[in-house]
């Protein structure tokens, strides 16, 4: 079931079109990635869906609520991690959480304190709850900002560049937490990122945008296949094998063969699991000793770069 439906969403700032006629649907429980270079319109799209900006035209509905008419209601059911952590540095971690819990209508103090404790413990910040946020590292601030976004148990969570500006270790920690979160909190996540690793590891569906326009939409593997016609199989041999090109060329389903000294790359339009046993059998019968067979899946990075480049060429 689609819980976010955007149709022809457009936002112009003077002469600049930041979001250009975007249409997409996000299903319940999905981790939906908005992938694009800096300035692609990712943050503006999130701000439109969070009712922080008013669209120039187009419509979006969140759980059936219109971003034109039901702004307060939409703010109540969404949590947002903004591009900056947006935390009050002179307040403690607990005070920050408490303020936002009350702002998001958690009026019962007991319920508030239970939820805050639960989240701060999950993010490993409970022991630092009385420390002012100004003393926190970037990674800790980012964790606290995500915890803050979740304080009112929103069914929808917007994460705007959650790992940008973080070192690789903190990025991984945040990525792992988001993965856990999507399962634990059972919320639908819209994640904007320019990091392919985030999109590939976290998202069920990815929309690539550039200059506010949609370039492609699909699961990471669908997007990869969109630009990579062939599946690739990499076979490592103990010793070089003579005439291997002729041997493999005869197999039905093998479209291309690249021969290295002891590494063979086979390209096929068929499913790799279907052709692998036949290929291995032919090599073994020809006297080859197979050390490993690895299917090389085309990466989202390849797809992204190709799609963005193709779009640039068209323009």
């Amino acid at each position: 079931m689609s819980i976010i439906v955007a149709h022809g969403l457009t936002k112009r700032f003077g002469g600049l079109t930041a979001v250009d006629n975007l249409s997409f649907e996000i299903d319940e429980g999905e981790v939906f990635g908005l992938l694009g270079p800096n300035g692609a319109g990712k943050t503006t799209t999130i701000r439109l869906l969070a009712c922080l900006l008013i669209p120039t035209k187009g419509e979006a509905e969140i759980f059936g609520y219109s971003i034109w008419r039901d702004q307060l209601r939409i703010r109540e059911i969404t949590g947002i991690l903004t591009e900056n952590p947006c935390l009050y540095e002179r307040l403690t971690a607990y005070e920050n959480m408490e303020f936002f819990a009350e702002a998001y209508n958690i009026t019962d103090p007991r319920e508030r304190s239970i939820r805050i404790r639960e989240l701060l413990e999950f993010f490993g910040l409970w022991d630092r709850r009385h420390d002012k946020v100004g003393k926190f590292s970037k990674g800790m601030k980012q964790k606290l900002a995500i915890a803050r976004a979740l304080v009112h148990r929103p069914p929808i969570l917007y994460l705007d560049e959650p790992t940008s500006d973080l070192d690789p270790e903190s990025s991984k920690a945040i990525r792992d937490l988001i993965k856990k979160l999507s399962e634990r909190e059972q919320c639908t996540i819209l994640l904007s990122t320019h990091r392919l690793e985030d999109a590939e590891k976290l998202c069920n569906k990815v929309m690539i945008i550039k200059e506010g326009r949609r370039i492609a939409l699909g699961s990471p593997s669908q997007l990869s296949m969109m630009v990579n016609e062939y599946n690739i199989l990499e076979i490592r041999l103990r010793h070089p094998l003579n005439k291997v090109e002729d041997i493999l060329g005869e197999i039905n389903g093998v479209d291309r063969v690249e021969i290295g000294k002891t590494v063979i790359r086979v390209e096929t339009k068929r499913d790799v699991e279907e052709v692998t046993p036949t290929i291995v059998r032919h090599i073994v019968e020809a006297g080859g000793e197979v050390l490993s067979v690895t299917p090389i899946r085309p990466s989202l990075e390849d797809a992204y770069l190709k799609l963005v480049k193709e779009d640039g060429d068209k323009a």
């Binding site: 700032f13 922080l52 903004t82 009050y88």
Partner: protein, 276 residues
């Protein structure tokens, strides 16, 4: 939509917690009233006395008294020169200085609360909460207005006590403060000045990038107060009861106008877009 007062109060509490931990804001709010309420009266009471005893200023005091409005002259007609000088300075010349307190306090707090929040990049998450524009605006006005007025009233109370205690013997057991002019000044003019300052900062908050810029712009409000001080000192202007009432009425009209302009300009989108 109806304003939920508890949401405005939530903003008030959060902002006050932040402000009370910020010495950049607290220091001028404490320092200026301290100088005006304790340091200056002490100097004024003891300095003219010392000088008068040496017989230096007698002629100047008489000359000065000639220039002041007849309304004040009648109040000091039965006083000797020293009493007259102290009375004029402490109850007449000092009065407009007390408008600086609400102006300064509200300008510092409102700049930190509105523009400072933009500068520290905390405003986006706040704007994303289900708190309406009116509730947000009311909370921010309250946190600028209440402490400013608290400081003004506290300063006035301290000043009254200091002046009355120090001049008790000089005026033979008579208390010279508070009087109607001062009460009108503190409870009429001061809130109107504080409100005008906050209104101006609300109006410019969507257009400035930070605390300093907001403070610099709101600094223009000091000009009419300096003119008031200069007018009083030269005798060109007298802050009497009638003038004060007229001033309060004009300020209230201005307040309403500034506030509505500020409210019109207080748009989430504009505040946010100016951040980028």
């Amino acid at each position: 939509m109806e304003i939920r007062l508890e949401k405005a109060y939530l903003i008030f509490r959060k902002d006050w917690k932040e402000i009370s931990r910020n010495w950049q804001v607290i220091l001028p709010i404490i320092a200026v009233p301290l100088v005006l309420t304790i340091v200056l009266p002490v100097i004024m009471i003891y300095l003219p006395g010392a000088v008068y005893n040496q017989g230096v200023y007698t002629g100047d005091v008489t000359e000065f008294i000639k220039n002041i409005p007849s309304e004040v002259r009648s109040q000091i007609s039965m006083m000797d020169s020293r009493q007259a000088m102290i009375y004029i300075v402490l109850t007449y010349l000092f009065a407009p200085f007390f408008l600086i307190i609400p102006l300064m306090a509200s300008s510092v707090i409102a700049s930190d609360s509105f523009a400072g929040e933009k500068e520290r990049k905390t405003i986006e998450a706040l704007l994303a909460t289900p708190i309406s524009d009116d509730e947000l605006l009311l909370g921010k006005i309250l946190v600028s207005f209440i402490p400013s007025m608290a400081v003004t009233i506290l300063s006035f109370t301290v000043y009254t006590i200091v002046v009355d205690v120090l001049t008790y013997d000089i005026f033979y057991g008579k208390y010279i403060l508070p009087n109607t002019t001062w009460l009108l000044l503190i409870f009429g003019a001061a809130p109107a000045v504080a409100f005008a300052t906050i209104g101006l900062i609300v109006a410019i908050s969507a257009r400035v990038k930070g605390f300093r810029e907001a403070q610099e712009i709101s600094g223009v409000l000091i000009i009419p107060i300096v003119m008031l001080i200069a007018g009083q000192a030269t005798g060109a202007f007298f802050l009497g009861i009638n003038t004060l009432v007229a001033m309060i009425v004009i300020l209230i009209i201005l307040d309403i106008m500034i506030f509505y302009i500020g409210k019109m300009l207080f748009e989430r989108e504009k505040i946010l877009v100016r951040l980028d």
